[in-house]
């Protein structure tokens, strides 16, 4: 077949209308080259213009945040696109906790970190253990576990908020950071199990088997073989869990109400309680709050993208 193809190409060169794409291509390109190039430049320019619009669309709300934060207290209501007297005063106020909404800011910042790291750790531990039983040890009714996880993944968390709040009261955990940690771990673990089972399939079973022959028990296989080989997935899911916990608002708001137990998200939303809030302080707080996830995200972007394509919603 390929030999015949090769022959038509070489013998057809004299014909005006070649039947093979390879022969017609150079003819067409030669006649229309200037137009073609012009059209390409026009397309490129159009794409760039579109890209510019896209960049403005993406950045505008963030730019707005910075501008209000840089406004001095009297200029907030000017609506200027560039502040008249840009000042870092509002950042100073936040950092030195110089405003009554922000009196416990660093403590709350610590709370957010504590919640984020705990959720991350618990999610990784519980998720990897569960995926190990289902995917590696193939427990008899393991499918029930992965179905339970899948179901939790597709139930909207906000629909469970009211009963969850009552449950936490029954457990006696309100205004206690562990309530939020447990609730958010519940919502982060399914994704972890999902990703881990996907990723685990790429690790050869023979490794486990040879470890068995050498006399390792399942715990040793889990610790010495499974976890080290799962490192990329662990990083991806860990970042996901940390971001989920840091960014969560509703559950923090419902379960934590004292200044001692609040996380930054709740403290930030408190600014909305009164009409005369200092918006520049609020935006400065918002920027400081948004920084860790943005840094984390860009730092681990490679892993995050890998995690998403690994399974997230791949159809």
């Amino acid at each position: 077949m390929s030999a015949a193809y090769g022959r038509t190409v070489t013998t057809d060169t004299g014909f005006a209308a070649g039947t093979v794409a390879g022969t017609t291509q150079p003819v067409r390109r030669r006649t229309s080259r200037p137009h073609y190039r012009l059209r390409r430049y026009a397309m490129e320019a159009l794409a760039m213009a579109f890209g510019l619009v896209l960049a403005v669309w993406s950045v505008l709300p963030l730019y707005n945040m910075w501008m209000i934060a840089l406004d001095s207290h009297n200029d907030v209501f000017s609506g200027a696109i560039w502040p008249e007297n840009p000042t870092l005063e509002s950042f100073r106020v936040v950092v030195t906790q110089d405003f009554w909404y922000l009196a416990r800011f660093w403590h709350q910042f610590g709370n957010s970190f504590y919640v984020g790291l705990s959720v991350m750790f618990l999610t990784l531990a519980i998720g990897s253990l569960a995926s190990f039983t289902v995917g590696r040890m193939r427990m008899r009714h393991g499918w029930m576990l992965s179905n339970a996880a899948l179901m939790t993944y597709v139930i909207p968390a906000s629909f469970l908020a009211i009963p969850m709040y009552r449950i936490m009261q029954i457990y006696g955990l309100t205004n206690n950071l562990s309530s939020v940690i447990l609730a958010l771990t519940t919502f982060a673990t399914p994704y972890a199990i999902f990703i881990f089972s996907q990723y685990g399939k790429s690790i050869p079973m023979e490794l486990d088997e040879s470890a068995r022959i050498d006399g390792a028990n399942p715990l040793q296989i889990y610790l010495r073989i499974y976890l080290p080989l799962m490192a990329p997935a662990l990083v991806a899911v860990g970042t996901y869990a940390l971001l989920l916990a840091w960014n969560e608002y509703l559950y923090n708001f419902l379960l934590l109400s004292t200044p001692e137990s609040m996380t930054v998200a709740v403290a930030l939303a408190q600014f909305l309680n009164s009409d005369e809030s200092p918006w520049n302080f609020m935006m400065a707080t918002a920027i400081i709050y948004a920084m860790p996830p943005i840094i984390l995200y860009y730092g681990f972007r490679r892993y995050m993208a890998a995690g998403l394509t690994m399974g997230g919603v791949k159809g």
Binding site: S58, V76, I126, T133, R166, Y298
Partner: protein, 305 residues
């Protein structure tokens, strides 16, 4: 023991290793079964204590028929239902369509496209709360930056966006699209990149260009992923609390509330938690089939990968 099975397997061709594996793991004996059980316990506890229990408790809270007559007598509830339908229907489909188009755009191999992608990710990397607060302020009729820009560029006075029902709802949807567009674009981009280049080359040899390449290569291979994304995002959008709560605040006069925010409003502003639960329960006839289809879809894909 598994060593001998391996040895036998080598002698007997391809089908053996698999069944040997199953023998080793499927019939977990004594100590192994205990280990497997111990590994499964943490998640089982979490699932029973924080998913099954709240669900049952919620079903019990919302089991009084009286609540539903009370709920259906409330005009705000019907507004919320209509808003939710619009919010989910427009928000999800608009976003997915844009994400699909943009994923094609980001396939371009230019340095500036790569740089743009880094900027484009920003909305997703930013936490929802500060982003939506900023959008709320951006849209402020008097001091918002958007109206300042309109004034500078075109010399027109922009409207007071969040004082109207329709514009408020549009603002919520816009904010939701803004926040989540990068995520879905990247998912669809990954899907597009996994299509082998050879298929496009083969199509080109067959004389297909532009639209026909799309119709005969891209579309059939992306359709399933697109459908799963739509379903998944429908569930996410249905449960989205932040955009409505922080951008329009449900206002003006609770006319832009959606089911996710109205339930919380009933429970904590009006102190009627049972009514809030009942309100959420009315979403179940839609939610349950969705969850069912999604679980099937995701499980099938898990088996294939």
């Amino acid at each position: 023991m598994s060593g001998t099975q391996q040895a036998v397997a080598i002698g007997q061709g391809f089908a053996r290793p698999r069944s040997a594996r199953r023998r080793w793991i499927g019939g977990l004996h004594g100590a192994d079964y205990v280990w497997a059980l111990a590994f499964a316990v943490p998640y089982a506890v979490i699932f029973l204590g924080f998913v099954v229990y709240p669900i049952c408790y919620g079903l019990w809270l919302g089991s009084d028929p009286q609540l539903y007559s009370e709920l259906f007598a409330d005009p705000r509830y019907f507004t919320a239902v209509i808003n939710t339908v619009i919010y989910v229907g427009v928000g999800v489909n608009l976003k997915m369509f844009l994400a699909f188009m943009l994923s094609g755009f980001f396939m371009r191999k230019r340095w500036w496209v790569k740089a743009l992608l880094v900027v484009f990710i920003l909305p997703w990397a930013t936490p929802a709360l500060p982003a939506y607060m900023s959008i709320h302020w951006l849209l402020n009729g008097q001091w918002g930056m958007l109206n300042s820009i309109l004034w500078l560029l075109f010399g027109i006075d922009g409207p007071v966006y969040l004082n109207s029902h329709w514009m408020g709802l549009a603002a919520n949807i816009g904010a939701y699209v803004w926040k989540n567009l990068p995520f879905w674009t990247i998912i669809l981009l990954a899907g597009r990149m996994s299509i082998p280049q050879e298929l496009y080359e083969a199509a080109a040899v067959d004389g297909a260009a532009g639209l026909r390449k799309f119709a005969h290569v891209t579309y059939p291979l992306m359709a399933n992923l697109y459908f799963v994304c739509i379903l998944l995002d429908t569930v996410f959008a249905l449960g989205d609390f932040n955009a409505t709560y922080f951008v329009s605040g449900g206002g003006p006069a609770m006319s832009t509330e959606v089911l996710a925010t109205l339930g919380i409003r009933y429970a904590y502003t009006v102190a009627l938690p049972r009514l809030g639960v009942a309100e959420v329960m009315t979403a179940l006839p839609v939610l349950i089939p969705l969850v069912y289809i999604l679980m099937r879809k995701l499980r099938v894909s898990e088996g294939q990968l």
